[in-house]
């Protein structure tokens, strides 16, 4: 005989103000199977849970209905109360009388009360078909994949590897380091970016638990949390990394010159190149698009000068497969292309550059030896205009969001300019100064005082050329007037924007992304480093604009998540998974088509008992299945049932009201 206990929560005033809770309890008592019903102010509190535990024992209850908030909030809490009282935790049903009733029917207490009773009736009816369920244990492969070798990927890889968990780090460019390697000094402390980054890069290269795959890309990810299989393409570098010493003879002699990406095209690199002196690994690669030997079979100089014979023009892309248990995506960001700002003369005027170009110029190891120069004539600029929010916070031309780091680095740029060109002056057009962070406001203040930069609040409306100067016209909202500034150089703080192929990567991994291509976290507040797909985590600017401290914090957080996941040899998983009744399955494979997690494959079984003929039916991998129910809905012959949400349970609910 079923003995159901019903526990109705006031949720303080949240439910009680709009639902007559005692009346709901009385109504519940009238249901035949309900042997015990009671209310309490906060069911989720310790005494509330105690009431459940005690009643289970005292009234020999066989299933429990808690009428309270959304199961998303406290289902786990109440399940725990059940198991503490020795009951299978999956014999719990939650009737959501807060989000589904009191909150949405605040104007009609009577109706909200009746609806709450209906929801309880449904939950009781559903619980009649509840079964004891047990968590599924799946084995885990204790190896992590980190995609992207910027500071986010580096930090995540190091933290995971320090916990003695093997890491495969995949970086698409020839060296790890990401954008941080391109920066000069960093806010808010002005320490040298390379100096703090390089040791970490070297640690990655020498760490016994890290397998570094530079110049590589992820092609495929199969499987499920704890048991992924990844296919990686290692692009041909045409250089045997095992024998190459990184001496540099090859790139010194290579005759082909190509714009240098690392220096934002300010100078040239060779067709065989290593992106920067501190690169890790410090081995060159041949850029197949520009090497004349690879294109036309003419040249071959690098092979001649290489004493180690490391050059191999016949090298092919290599496909590498690894079994892994978790993934950290740390693919960083790109800068937004400011082309839509035609009125600034972007592309037409050489002396308009982006913030990252400026960063390379002021870098001591940069292409201009640490002094900013005008691209047009190589002169050192005295009057420099910085324009913030180029693309950011501009719904009409750019994007809605704030890029978060530009206020800070522009203040930094004013300081760096001041340090490098003493008689210069910086003008900064801004919308707001957003300097929330430890030591940030102080940093901006310091920049303002030290550099005496002119901060002009307003958007720039036009830039035009006058002689060899650029005239920057904008509004100064503080005096309510249009101002014009004569500039030698204009620096655009263009928005932080995801790489174009970030959404392709997301689709390949089966995770979601927003309309810009930033990857989406599972919950903006409570699960900021997880994705909705179990075992895949996010670090750094691939999720949203961030500065280095925040990036590093998030990267370490992903490492904690990965270590947590790998804490045991097996992993426990919710038992809410689907199974196929092969007697009913027609083999149409509609379920295979709709399953968003590729959890369904087909298998061949005998046509009938002892029959030699075979037929094809669907088979669900319970380790992969996330219990989304898509297959259940699509299967016409109702061959699939989802544990915890069986057809019988749902039908019971429907017929109960």
């Amino acid at each position: 005989m079923a003995r159901v206990g019903v526990f109705v929560c006031f949720c303080g005033a949240n439910i009680a103000d709009f639902v007559d809770v005692p009346a709901v309890v009385e109504e519940a008592k009238k249901i035949k199977e309900v042997k015990y019903a009671i209310d309490y102010k906060y069911m989720c509190s310790d005494p509330g849970q105690g009431m459940i535990r005690d009643a289970i024992v005292a009234h020999r209850l066989t299933s429990i209905v808690v009428a309270a908030c959304s199961p998303r909030m406290h289902e786990k809490t109440f399940r725990k109360a059940l198991s503490d009282a020795g009951m299978n935790p999956y014999l719990l049903e939650v009737a959501n009388i807060r989000e589904h009733s009191s909150w949405v029917h605040q104007k009609d207490k009577k109706a909200a009360t009746e609806k709450s009773s209906d929801l309880i009736r449904m939950a009781v009816a559903k619980s009649m078909a509840n079964e004891q369920l047990h968590e599924i244990s799946v084995p885990v492969t204790k190896r992590a994949l980190v995609i992207g070798g910027g500071i986010a990927g580096i930090q995540a890889a190091l933290d995971i590897a320090d916990a003695r968990i093997p890491v495969v780090l995949v970086e698409k460019s020839p060296s790890i380091g990401g954008k941080m390697a391109q920066l000069d000094e960093t806010f808010p402390t002005l320490d040298c970016s390379q100096c703090i980054l390089t040791p970490k890069m070297v640690d990655v290269a020498s760490h016994p638990y890290i397998e570094l795959l530079p110049y590589s890309e992820v092609l495929e990810l199969d499987g499920y949390v704890g048991n992924y299989k990844v296919k990686i393409k290692r692009k041909a570098s045409y250089v045997n990394f095992d024998t190459c010493t990184g001496c540099g003879a090859c790139w010194q002699k290579c005759p082909v010159k190509v714009p240098n990406e690392f220096n934002m095209g300010i100078d040239k690199r060779k067709a065989i190149y290593s992106p920067f002196p501190q690169a890790v690994p410090n081995k060159p690669v041949i850029d197949a698009e520009h090497c004349t030997m690879l294109i036309k079979g003419k040249c071959g100089i690098c092979a001649k000068v290489c004493e180690k014979g490391s050059i191999d023009y016949t090298m092919q892309d290599e496909i590498i497969e690894r079994e892994i248990g978790a993934v950290v995506v740390a693919t960083g960001y790109d800068l937004w292309d400011p082309k839509p700002y035609e009125e600034y003369g972007v592309g037409r005027y050489k002396d308009i550059i982006t913030s990252l170009e400026f960063e390379r110029m002021v870098s001591a190891s940069g292409p201009t030896g640490g002094v900013p120069v005008r691209p047009s004539d190589g002169k050192i600029p005295k009057s420099v205009v910085f324009i913030k929010c180029v693309g950011s916070r501009d719904e009409a031309k750019g994007i809605e969001y704030c890029s978060k780091i530009c206020c800070m680095y522009t203040a930094k740029h004013a300081m760096l300019l001041h340090h490098k060109v003493h008689d210069s002056h910086a003008y900064i057009f801004y919308m707001d100064i957003r300097a929330a962070g430890k030591g940030y406001e102080e940093f901006v203040k310091r920049a303002q005082v030290e550099t005496a930069a002119t901060y002009l609040r307003g958007r720039v409306s036009k830039i035009y050329k006058k002689g060899d100067k650029l005239m920057v016209r904008g509004e100064d909202a503080q005096i309510g007037q249009v101002v014009e500034v004569e500039a030698d150089l204009v620096v655009l703080a263009t928005a932080v924007y995801p790489y174009k192929d970030n959404s392709d990567l997301a689709r390949l991994l089966g995770i979601s992304y927003d309309k810009y291509g930033f990857l989406s976290e599972a919950h903006p507040k409570l699960r900021p480093v997880e994705t909705a797909k179990a075992g895949i985590f996010l670090a750094g600017c691939t999720q949203a604009p961030k500065d280095i401290p925040e990036t590093v914090a998030q990267a370490s957080a992903t490492a904690a998540k990965v270590c947590g996941l790998f804490a045991g040899d097996t992993m426990l998983k919710d038992p809410m998974v689907s199974t196929v009744n092969t007697d009913y399955c027609t083999g149409c494979q509609n379920c295979v088509t709709v399953c968003p997690y590729q959890a369904i494959i087909t298998e061949e079984i005998p046509l009938g008992h002892g029959s030699k003929e075979i037929r094809t039916v669907a088979k669900i991998n319970e380790g992969v299945c996330q219990g989304c129910g898509s297959c259940v809905a699509i299967c016409r012959s109702m061959a699939i049932d989802l544990a915890g949400f069986t057809d019988m349970q749902i039908i019971n609910e429907i017929v109960s009201i």
Binding site: D583, T586, G587, N590, T593, V594, S637, M638, M648
Partner: protein, 283 residues
């Protein structure tokens, strides 16, 4: 339209070359003008076969039964029939290599009054879309046109339509002939018969018929090819095409002019997700 001779020749050839075990075609009832489907198992019976504008049934339906399962089958399909067959192939119910398909470039069949059947007047694709040998001259795909009965029904008020359908469903005797005659209703354990599906229980109440037929029509939404095999089988003469044509219209208008079974590997609107699917009806 008469392909009797050609079909007899093809079937005869297939049997003598031992390419098939069964041939599915049409023969005379023997007692009136009408025809019935026939399963021929040997060469000497091929002269029973015939094909005219009275060859109304969808023979793909017979591929779902024991008699033909895992056998090498020859069969005749008109345009609509071939689209159903296409879906059966897509949904892994038959193997293409086991079939010899005689496709017809159809000129339309007759209804009980002897005039051209409504579905043939409105037919979007009279030529077989999948075949090994084609009989007749293909006339190509035609423009989709809205069913005239649906247009008339749409003119009615909501309650008017409800009353109309309640009256219609009242006549259903729950014999399931509609389901058995549909080539796309091949499930060995149909949902309607299942123990859990209490909504469909109750021998023949209007409510159980309503739920059963609604579910059935939704299982054919985006798949039904308007062959009207079901309607021909219904002993109570329910206008079943109203359900299917309504679904077809909604899907045609909302899902990139989708028409069932036109190309292989197309499972239909309900069974695939595309970013351009409309979502304005989702709350």
């Amino acid at each position: 339209m008469n392909y009797t001779k050609q079909i007899q020749d093809i079937a005869g050839r297939l049997f003598s070359e031992e390419k098939i075990d069964v041939f599915i075609g049409y023969r005379n009832t023997g007692f009136d003008e009408n025809q019935v489907p026939v399963l021929i198992n040997q060469y000497k019976d091929v002269d029973q076969l015939l094909f005219t504008d009275k060859s109304v049934f969808n023979l793909a339906n017979y591929l779902k039964y024991e008699h033909t399962r895992n056998k090498r089958v020859g069969l005749v399909v008109k345009g609509c029939d071939s689209r159903a067959l296409n879906l059966m192939l897509t949904e892994n119910q038959v193997k293409r290599e086991k079939l010899f398909i005689v496709g017809i470039a159809c000129e339309g069949v007759v209804d009980e009054t002897g005039g051209k059947a409504q579905n043939c007047v409105e037919c979007v694709m009279p030529d077989a879309v999948v075949f090994d040998e084609m009989l007749g001259t293909p006339s190509g795909k035609r423009d989709y046109q809205e069913n005239s009965d649906i247009r008339a029904l749409d003119g009615k008020s909501l309650t008017g339509r409800q009353e109309y359908f309640e009256e219609v469903f009242e006549n259903c005797i729950r014999c399931n002939a509609c389901r058995h005659s549909c080539p796309l209703c091949y499930c060995s354990n149909c949902c309607i018969d299942q123990e859990t599906a209490t909504l469909y229980h109750g021998a023949n109440t209007t409510s159980s018929a309503f739920h059963a037929l609604m579910t059935w029509s939704l299982h054919l939404a985006g798949r039904c090819v308007d062959c009207r095999n079901c309607e021909k089988a219904c002993p109570s003469h329910l206008p079943l095409h109203l359900l299917h044509k309504q679904n077809e219209k909604v899907i045609y208008e909302n899902f990139q002019e989708h028409l069932a079974g036109m190309i292989q590997d197309d499972r239909g609107a309900f069974y695939k997700y595309s970013l351009s699917d409309p979502d304005d009806f989702i709350m």
